[in-house]
Symmetry: C2
Subunit: 324 residues, 2 copies
């Protein structure tokens, strides 16, 4: 195929022009850790920073994908071009949607104004975060105005892809007791917007009251976290949710926090990428070096302690590292 | 004070003899990243591997600490010596227990057969996992027969201190809908034992049925994950929980899985320690090197992409790394 002979510059130009196929190919290169993928991001990085990135997180089954489908419809009704990145292994975007979802989401797949991609390599979380963040940059460079990122989270979020978004929406449902407890205990960070989905459930108001109670304990002043009730499956509450997301973005811009948040996110992105690469080198060293494999046998036999083994591993990995 | 002049060898000897103060001091050294701490672990590592380590995880508010208090009572009634390590920032062990809990837990603080320690440096999770795993080794070397590790978890567990235990107990309560969803979606790993605490709640049987449904979807054969109902506050169900934990340990031993699981855990411990140290070096390099700080300004201005910045950071950190 002709496109495999495309130069990185040609591909970058087509991505910047908004070409969907070029964007898909660029993301695949990044996902496969192909050096051309990184070159592309390098070339396109100056074109980034224009999109509004919105992260939706929450427990599996809260309806994040359906909600994103509705938010996409809403953005399309305003003729905004949209990108969707799902890094939730349990998402219908990833697994192939079922029934009604399949129909609704596949409409979007056919709309040239919507670009949908899922990444859910379980077990390779370091590399996943790294690739996901680059994919968002590529979507941004290709002129997508709104980018929705779907991640699964039930409290802790070490990987925190979602934290790199301008606006973080936590999606809960009546019955999300564990998430409420995690918020209350400070184990989970307070998001920018809270959405209580499946709000036709009789326990919705109890849940909203509990959330209010948790928010009242937090710092006051600044942005007031809104609680929006939705029924994504029936399209209810979507206008309000979209309005609150837009309001948050406007707020960040007005108080000058947007630039600061993005700077912080980019710094943490640099660290995430560097750590992921280091970890990959360590795992490679462990796999390829028979002497290191013997080291692990020594640890298992309790003759060599884990910390000393780690130092030996670091020494080998450092000598193997060729800065490029 | 005389003890500050103690040599590492003297301290190691006292830890191995079961001296509580020596153990406390050894853990502090590890927690403070003092080189003597690591020397101690090196010296004592051959004495480890005798304790049965039990990890209890679950959402905040599920009653893990109270449950551990009861399991400690149970072990003490059999004259077993016990260690407790809490790495849950929302735990009463960490925050100072309240009311009834305080009284019950403080009894244990006075019992020389019980050693309790909490570590909950939020924000330093890499370092925390590293120190926690070493603390468990030190408790093990000091002759603690049962070690309970308390971690907070609501689905994802990247840090996975609890995964280093021989037996993992997931503690849920009626209302733990998010955890059930996370189990169902495969986002949370199936534990060895599931405990439904606060089982006097009217929705307990609904929760037990939901858990059964999730377990039925998983692989059959091998260890059958038991579901135990407890009311930790009133001491109910504790005998059964302790019996199931002991049964799991016996099962691992009988089928030869214990050695394999421990080997796998030690290998992952080596990687955890190595990665944490690398990350620390990177953060140090970013903090101390004005040229790297300027690099980040370039990234924030979108003139240098995050991946290229990460490579520059890695090159600097590699040249700064002195293998020891």
């Amino acid at each position: 195929m002709a496109r495999s002979t495309q130069t990185v510059d040609e591909l970058a130009e087509r991505v910047a022009a908004g070409d969907r196929r070029a964007l898909a190919r660029a993301i695949s290169l990044v996902e496969n850790d192909d050096p051309r993928g990184w070159e592309l991001v390098r070339a396109l990085f100056p074109h980034t920073g224009r999109a509004h990135t919105v992260g939706l997180t929450g427990p599996p089954g809260a309806g994040k994908s359906t909600l994103i489908g509705r938010l996409v419809e809403h953005a399309r009704a305003q003729s905004k071009s949209v990108g969707v990145l799902s890094v939730d292994p349990s998402s219908p975007f990833t697994q192939g949607a079922v029934l009604g979802d399949r129909i609704r989401l596949s409409e979007h797949f056919l709309d040239p104004g919507v670009f949908i991609r899922s990444m859910a390599n379980r077990g390779a979380l370091g590399g996943l975060a790294e690739a996901a963040l680059q994919a968002v940059l590529l979507m941004d460079a290709s002129g997508r105005e709104e980018i929705f990122i779907e991640t699964v989270g039930v409290g802790q979020a070490e990987v925190d892809i979602v934290d790199h978004a301008d606006t973080v929406v936590l999606v809960l449902i009546p019955g999300s007791g564990d998430s409420i407890q995690a918020l209350k205990a400070g184990v989970m960070e307070i998001p920018d917007v809270i959405c209580v989905n499946k709000a036709d459930h009789p326990l919705t108001e109890t849940m909203v009251r509990e959330i209010r109670g948790v928010l009242a304990l937090g710092p006051q002043g600044g942005w007031r976290v809104p609680i929006v009730r939705t029924e994504a499956a029936r399209g209810e509450g979507i206008d309000e949710l979209a309005a609150k997301i837009a309001e948050h973005r406007d707020y960040l811009g007005a108080v000058g926090e947007l630039a600061e948040r993005r700077r912080r996110n980019l710094v943490s992105e640099v660290l995430t990428i560097a750590s992921a690469r280091l970890r990959k080198r360590l795992e490679g060293a462990l796999r390829d070096d028979p002497e290191l494999a013997r080291l692990l046998d020594e640890v298992a036999a309790r003759r060599l302690d884990p910390s000393s083994a780690a130092e030996r591993l670091l020494a080998v990995a450092a000598s193997a590292a060729v800065p490029n």
